[in-house]
């Protein structure tokens, strides 16, 4: 099981290593689940690795992980590919699926509230545990099924989000409304996330530094399911509250961490998330050179 996880990490860091000389410093959001309205800069590729360690009631704890390749197609369109996997302690390690996500910014200028439209196609198996979002009646006990059984269930899903986000005096406040449809004749499921964050200092230092307070962003997010089309509401759903923090290094790396706490008995008691991301500037242009498209 270690070998599969190592393979996963090797893939992520090889990609970073290949283009590491072309870094750009992103001002990354600290959120793990919530989206704000900021898209990837055009032509840049952000390579990300995230982990979630979860405490499982009545079963084995798990470590879910995923890699993200986030590409700024234009200033109003970001597209993202996810590769998911998980290790359940005392069970096995397996890849659990692929996601393809697109975010579109419909408005030209900044407004008090900025909408972004999100569409994602998910092709995963039933052993997926990354908890990238919580929807419908997702509850902690769903993860008690052994991997060998859960992996046999295939899920094809379309997920839509309306992202609403505002930034005022350094504070970002974001709200995402989620609607997901399993394409196998399952009802629409709903969920939400709320997040707020702020850099520790708003003005930049005159010196280039790693530990300056403006490089740190902290906040909190809350997320959970809202039932489905037949039973909308909080009943039989799981809910979480999680402080979040990000450290943006001038070298292009960002480190994320978030301890999360379940708010009801349906939730996992504790989730510890962490992640690393690296932004590669001008990725699109460099790929076009590889394809011999120099002008």
């Amino acid at each position: 099981m270690i070998a599969r996880h190592t393979l996963f990490l090797t893939f992520v860091f090889s990609l970073i290593g290949l283009f590491a000389t072309f870094s750009a410093r992103g001002q990354e959001s600290p959120y793990f689940v919530t989206y704000d309205h900021y898209l990837e800069e055009p032509g840049n590729l952000e390579v990300e690795y995230f982990s979630t360690f979860g405490v499982q009631h009545g079963g084995n704890d798990f470590h879910a992980f995923w890699a993200e390749l986030e590409y700024g197609a234009t200033a109003w369109w970001t597209t993202e590919l996810y590769l998911d996997g998980q290790t359940t302690f005392g069970d096995s390690t397996l890849f659990t699926g692929v996601r393809w996500e697109n975010r579109f910014r419909p408005l030209k200028h900044e407004h008090l509230i900025n909408p972004v439209l999100y569409v994602e196609y998910v092709n995963k198996n039933g052993a997926d545990k990354i908890l990238r979002e919580v929807e419908g009646h997702d509850v902690g006990s769903d993860f008690l099924t052994p991997n060998s059984v859960a992996r046999k269930e295939h899920v094809h899903e379309l997920e839509f989000k309306l992202i609403l986000s505002s930034t005022f005096k350094g504070w970002n406040v974001s709200e995402n409304m989620i609607a997901a449809k399993n394409l196998s004749n399952e009802p629409w499921e709903f969920g939400y996330t709320l997040g707020t964050s702020r850099p520790l200092k708003l003005a930049a230092s005159a010196k280039r530094c790693s530990f300056c307070p403006q490089n740190f962003t902290a906040g909190i997010e809350m997320y959970g399911g809202l039932g489905d089309r037949h039973s909308f509401g909080l009943k039989d759903t799981s809910q979480y509250l999680a402080p979040v923090a990000a450290w943006n290094l001038p070298s292009g790396w960002t480190f994320h961490v978030s301890p999360g706490f379940g708010l009801n008995s349906n939730s996992h008691g504790f989730l510890l998330r962490w992640g690393l991301s690296y932004e590669i500037a001008g990725f699109g242009e460099r790929v076009s050179h590889l394809f011999g498209r120099d002008r």
Partner: protein, 150 residues
């Protein structure tokens, strides 16, 4: 196995598509340059009239330079003279604009023409960037162009 194949297909599609997309960036670069300058003129009067709160701050230019190198130089060039993807910031149009107008462009971007919104940088950092950009002055080549074609 099917998942891996799907991932490979999507990755290949993305890679090929990104190559084409960046070609489009170049094709539109020339027209983008002139239209980005015209965007400055669209700044509302109230935004233009805003004063830079870092005007008298001796560290603002140095801080702005750091921010420029981290966020802007990739497209606008190390010396802000422009590149394939973005126009010169040392053009007369930019340097003669009010600090408030430059701040407005930074905040709102020119999204349809490739310039992202930079409101994710806190307001003081955007003003520090304005301080740095305005400190650069008009590039000599730009000034010569204006003398030839007033």
């Amino acid at each position: 196995m099917k998942g891996c194949l799907a991932a490979l297909c999507i990755s290949a599609t993305l890679a090929a598509w990104s190559a084409l997309a960046s070609q489009d960036v170049d094709k539109s670069a020339k027209s983008a340059k002139s239209s980005v300058y015209s965007e400055i003129e669209k700044a509302p009067e109230k935004a233009r009239a805003k004063r830079n709160p870092f005007e008298q701050n001796p560290d603002a230019v140095a801080a702005g330079k750091n921010l420029f190198e981290q966020h802007c130089a990739e497209c606008h060039g190390e010396a802000a003279l422009g590149g394939k993807k973005a126009p010169s910031l040392r053009a007369v149009e930019v340097q003669s604009a009010t600090p408030g107008a430059v701040f407005w462009i930074l905040t709102n971007g020119v999204v349809r023409r490739g310039m992202p919104v930079w409101s994710k940088l806190p307001e003081p950092q955007r003003w520090q960037l304005v301080s740095y950009i305005k400190s650069l002055g008009v590039a000599s080549s730009e000034a010569a162009d204006v003398t030839k074609n007033p």
